[in-house]
Symmetry: D3
Subunit: 256 residues, 6 copies
């Protein structure tokens, strides 16, 4: 049994409030257990300089935590004058993941800015950010379709993320909370699409290692969890969920 009485393969309660903030084109408050992240998607009608004139768009993400999202107050990155390595790693991950399921050629010369602001943290903030950001992005495109400034949903598939890990006792577990995360020997973040293809696997043994078998067990747990999470995304999106994939372009690397 885990410290919050979950089974090794149980997710924490997940909950998404759409249109949480009024200004952004897409806005979601996602709660995964005690982790709460505001995910806002903003559409800007231009692309960064290195992409101009190519007729395609871009998606970029920023991630931040309120200083007191955590048990001890953290110094604000704006006060320190620079963004930490951890923050950069996370925002690069979120952007990359979202780009894998959006057909950038279909969104025109626009930038989608995704802001993930953690207001309360209890483990899994980066994976909750991806899961919530996906919904915010679909909402934003949905609003453009409603406004007739876009024809079809340029999102090719669902996208969600969760964590798996190995505890000190050797148990592989799904969806680590903060206490589990700080004790785990291995921590792995997995991002998958609705067709259960991998987008990103980041597994790390901090002062520890893991075997091939452990890897397989963790992948199994992640797949189970992500199916459930994507189900939740579909519920939250309602009608809009049906538009995901309508412009599906074949970009899976597979084939052979």
């Amino acid at each position: 049994m885990r410290n919050d009485n979950r089974e090794v393969d149980s997710l924490r309660e997940i909950n998404m409030t759409v249109d949480f903030i009024k200004h952004p084109e897409g806005s979601v408050l996602i709660r995964v257990g005690d982790t709460k992240v505001i995910c806002n998607a903003s559409i800007e009608d231009k692309v960064p300089p290195f992409m101009r004139g190519q007729g395609k768009g871009w998606i970029t993400a920023e991630y931040s935590m309120l200083p007191r999202a955590t048990d001890r107050r953290n110094i604000r990155e704006s006060s320190k004058g620079k963004v930490s390595g951890r923050t950069m790693e996370i925002q690069r991950l979120i952007g990359r993941a979202l780009r894998s399921v959006v057909d950038l050629d279909k969104i025109g010369e626009r930038t989608v800015w995704v802001d993930c602001d953690v207001i309360q943290a209890d483990g899994g903030t980066r994976t909750a950010s991806i899961t919530g950001a996906f919904v915010a992005v679909v909402l934003a495109f949905g609003k453009m379709i409603d406004a007739k400034t876009m024809n079809k949903m340029p999102v090719t598939d669902f996208l969600a993320a969760t964590s798996v890990g190995v505890l000190e006792n050797g148990d592989e577990i799904l969806d680590l909370n903060y206490q589990e995360d700080s004790q785990a020997q291995v921590d792995m973040n997995i991002v998958m699409t609705g067709s259960m293809e991998f987008v990103e696997i980041q597994g790390t043994g901090e002062e520890a290692t893991f075997s091939y078998d452990q890897l397989q067990n963790m992948l199994k747990l992640a797949t189970k969890g992500l199916q459930e999470i994507i189900e939740k995304q579909k519920n939250v999106l309602g009608e809009l969920a049906n538009r995901v994939g309508e412009t599906k372009t074949v970009r899976s690397s597979g084939g052979k």
Copy 2:
């Protein structure tokens, strides 16, 4: 009649949710119309270097906006690598205002960090921050009193803030929303205590000026509004409200 049908001397709806975030000692989500600010108060058991060994405490504030709190997305200050002049001005104001009603000698060598994070902006974010931060600070001290790490509430009086201004038509109005604020010729932020003494007056004519009579009318509106706001703070704080002032030290500058 104003753009949201209020009278010139009407406040917007105000609403405070206490214990909004679980980690901070004091946490409040304040809503003033469509302006929403998370105010968190954290107690740290040390003071900044310049105050060590004096047996007294310190209160400092930080203020920030989510990039999409506003209609157009703003660049994150952590990305720019520096805090803007506007942000600094606001956080200095919040800290100064709070210090005026807290007896720093009574809190020991502790720092109270107040974080005001605007998640949605519609004018008056700095005054909403002060009003909400005051409640968060009282909650934080209340928690210390419950935990017996403090004897008496070191807060000497209530504290709240609002804005007043002059519209282009010459009307003096109370509690400006964003649209009013951007059209106003004069904008004045006023911070007062529960005994209706002034803590801070910041009146500014941006490319305009104002007369002695206009100033008097604005002061009158502010006084009326702040009495109502402090009433709300008392309701929200419940029992704790009665402890405010229990260590009242005479520090009014008056006397003659």
Copy 3:
């Protein structure tokens, strides 16, 4: 009696040397008691990006202190790599104040850079900066009129600033020197025009508060002091003083 034998409503000796530095279009060394500030106004033939193409100009101010302007040497802001909150607050104040009496539509797409460099400080550096900067700006425009690159003085009214405050004994006083400033319970900076309209009121009780009556007394002292200061500006400007107001546009917020 005050620490330098002045009456509560007496200004310190004020003195302005025009054309102090040879390169700037307008240059003034202002001395208010032992406070000395070099105020230089530079005209640049372009405006910042956010104003291009609107046919109007801009005024911006920068403020700095020599490291040893004060009793103890301060670290240079260029060495620290960032400008302090206090400096930003002051330079925003100076710029805003000047813009309130200059008709930006009349100066074309030009930027007026105002540099206020405090070479010796004894209290009231920000108000001395405003008073001196106003003269420097008029001189700069005067030079343009002489050079026929401008037709009329775009300055609509005189502008000056001073401080008032409340001492620990409850006395309201005019034009605080450094020693008074560091002991005062309330410190208020007031900027007014030649027609005795307010441009800016910034009153602050640092760990103290002030009453309605005290506010009224301070306003009275400021009004008296500013009339005298504007008289000095007129003397220093000589002939040019008569051109101030020649393009007066009605922008007072008043009316009702």
Copy 4:
């Protein structure tokens, strides 16, 4: 056939020059095809503040590229005044990987600084850095053992890294060069120990996804390649290679 005539499961030529720079305790120039990295390990007799007094050590890594290591000159990060997200991600990865095979309790309160400076880049700079840095660290500890300032080699196992990926045609390949890397749909960096346990898996589909089967194929390629690379490390280290593992502590997360 690949662009440089390798088989899909062939490594590029690997080559390590020990004692390349004279000052560092451990120094290696590693060449993997046309990628050349100077890996220096420096021992400092203190640990960062957050670790003091715990009697254990720390390993940290920094990574950089000469501006003209690449085909087009890059702006120096010292000129930009900040380290890019990519650099931070890489140096965090290198440090984490090395810490997984060093028993930090056995090195005393010392910090091992590992500097990986890419002087010529042709793909795989981060994995070459890990492979070379491992050798530099063993050399540095070896020097301490020779100098009798350390008793036993605190390195518990070998450590090496390589990349695998999926080309546009669906081929899974080992050890991508720059041209392959820029065309690949999936890019995965894998770090393993001498006992073929995983330390880190970072697989990324940039605007693409990959299946479970593709993942398995890539893992197989990586395992094969890493066995060969570790053989090279053993040759280069000679006698010292036998000391790796002499203090082996059981920290594999496995067990069940």
Copy 5:
């Protein structure tokens, strides 16, 4: 004849006002032609960390220009957030030069901060800074001797600086003004002591070169000029001038 009618070997008019600013221990306004620099020397009763516990002192210099010291306004270095290469070069030069004539062992664990702020520039600002800073430092030590916090003047010799150069027509000239400086092919700054020993020679051909003979001619001009400048320093210092050298320690590098 030169553009200001001087002979090739004539200095511009030099003028030093002592005690120009009231707070610093030593303060001089030096004017060399139209170049005006405020040189302030501050004594701090501690040394930088790397010198603690050695019983000797340190001298360091900072150099800055008002934005409008020059014909076109320069961006403030505090706004840019960093000090330029030119500024760093100059402040390192000033500090090094002063240290060559001060016996750091005789000043105890104190730091002398020398601030050279150029308020008006017309060429030769760095050499004027050295000449003025020397006088400010002697004044500061003089004040300490008067206050009995120091026994003897720790300054071993006089110190002054000037520039020489080669014009396009091949003329070698002394003490270049701004116009000459911007046209010169060779620019050389020379710092010498009262005993006519060299402290620093910095000769530069910007897109040009110079011969051995030209070098000799320039050295001759500099020597002549520096003798005259040191005469002025002696006049300005009056009585104090006699104390310079009273602790003369032999540190000339010569001997053979």
Copy 6:
């Protein structure tokens, strides 16, 4: 006898490997004793903004040290977020020196970026950088001539640099190694052309001074050493050496 058994007028062994790195247009690894510097020259087909439209080119240099180039590890400047004064001084020197022998009018609107990265330091890194950078620049232009994108070698003369100094015993010596440099009383860097004209003289007495005679002796040593170094450059450049000077423009400042 010197600490490495050289005569006072002997250079250390010098060695240049051309085409050391494959990407840059010109690349040299220079070794001067134990000092090793990678000098890369990159040609970019544009000039900095301040030079656009003038039809001429620019040469700029950057200098850096690997953290462990020295006996003790230095903090990376990219980590510190700023470039030190020493680094700026050196890169300004290198750029200036190279510009003195390149006819910028002949290279079109191109920028030559010269990167000098010290991988191992033992004194004289800045002079080795200049000597090596010169060769890299000639190689880069040579490649352009081969590719017919340039007609004639725009380099007007050879260029090399070395150091001279005065030891504590009064000996003047040539080409100081690190140990000598840290003990020397006077340190002088001299840059000369193939026609033995001076480009730069930077002589510094750190807490010491030097006489006219010592200066003459040092100049003599430098001249001897630089003749030998330029001989080496000619050998290394082979055929290309003959093209140096083919567009020689008379820019020596001499003549009278």
